[in-house]
Amino acid sequence: MYDTVDKYVKQLKKELRGYDPALVQDALSDAEEFLRTALTSSKNENPEISDEDALGPIIDKYGSPDEIASAYKEIEFRTSPSLSASVPKSHLSLLSKFLSIYGDSQAWAAVFFLILSAVTGIIFGFWTLIGAGISVCSIFLIIGLPLLGLYLLSLRGIAIIEGRIVEALLGVRMPRKPIFIQRGLSLSKKLRVLLSESLTWKIILYLIIRFPLGLVYSFGLLILMSFAAKFIAYPVLASVFDRGLITLGGQKYYTDVYLYPLVSLLGFIVLTLTLHLAKHVGKLHGKFAKFMLVRRESDDV
């Protein structure tokens, strides 16, 4: 019924239409890995056999696209991405909801992601820009094309790493397997495929945007948290270490002693709001990462 692996994969993709793009990507790369390995093995044993004849029994054992699609759907239904189910919805009062952020693992994981994002953003951004520069400059040299190919593949690898970080810390389901490029193509054709895929360009754009975005996330969060920490510790800082609440032009400004608890309370509120903000920014970033790094049905294959 299927004379090529590509036709099988296309049908599997159809069967998985409407499901999480990350799940679809995993299922497609699993099928490619198995079917191509089995096909190569079968042709090694019997070089005369046609692809269609070899694929028949292989697919029979592997499972038809609808059987495989339902196997993935079933497992996905039972397994949820890490952290995503950590906080059950409950009928808490407004104040309890506000304070419950301290026990919310998603919020703390998002804080960790946002702080870490300056470092990862710098690495991703530099690699993307420097790699692009080197690839473009060496395009007319003999090593130009292989170098460009390696560079584009490395970006796919980085996208998978970023996806793993996003899934682990932000709880958004991301691909766990790389996307394969059709085998048997010449280097220039593989390059053409890579360059013509909108996913490649989306990954490049994402990794470049990730650079300034990482800095904003990380420093924004650190500034807010240090403000909060300073306000909370203000009574001790002012009375023991003689630190002012604000220092402007070398001039320290203090509050009255009776206002100390209020300043601490303000710091605590800022810290709590920052955690809520971090959680929401993390969620939004997760959606953005998924949109940019995961191949969609509308994307070209």
Partner: protein, 122 residues
């Protein structure tokens, strides 16, 4: 007839959904080196009786789910003769879980056999 074969299929599927994880953990526990999906499927095939217990493609999502649960870990290596392959190894948590699962499996086996053989029938 068709109804019976459908219900057999459903029963087999329900059994597989639990046993596949146990089988895969056990295969990787015994493996001397990391194994990829096709290798695992081929190894299981040699133990299969004349009827195929489960589709080979259905093993992959189970492997992924075990990895997600921290019982397996994996890495991708390029291959000379095909697409890059994902190699799986069992983790420490996986080994401990396997021990517990084997115990549960043994109890279940004895329990079901006892009922099927009607030993305790009044």
């Amino acid at each position: 007839m068709n109804l019976i074969s459908e219900s057999n299929k459903k029963f087999q599927k329900e059994l597989n959904s639990g046993t596949a994880s146990l089988v895969l953990l056990s295969v990787l526990y015994r493996a001397r080196e990391p194994m990829y999906g096709y290798q695992i499927a081929k190894l299981i095939e040699t133990h299969d009786t004349n009827v195929q217990m489960m589709k080979q493609g259905a093993l992959y999502p189970v492997l992924r789910s075990l990895e997600n649960g921290g019982l397996l870990e994996s890495h991708v290596d390029p291959s000379v003769s095909g697409p890059p392959r994902r190699y799986y190894t069992i983790t420490k948590a996986g080994r401990e879980t396997l021990k517990a699962w084997i115990e549960i499996w043994d109890h279940t086996k004895v329990f079901v056999d006892t009922i099927l053989e009607g030993k305790n029938n009044v």
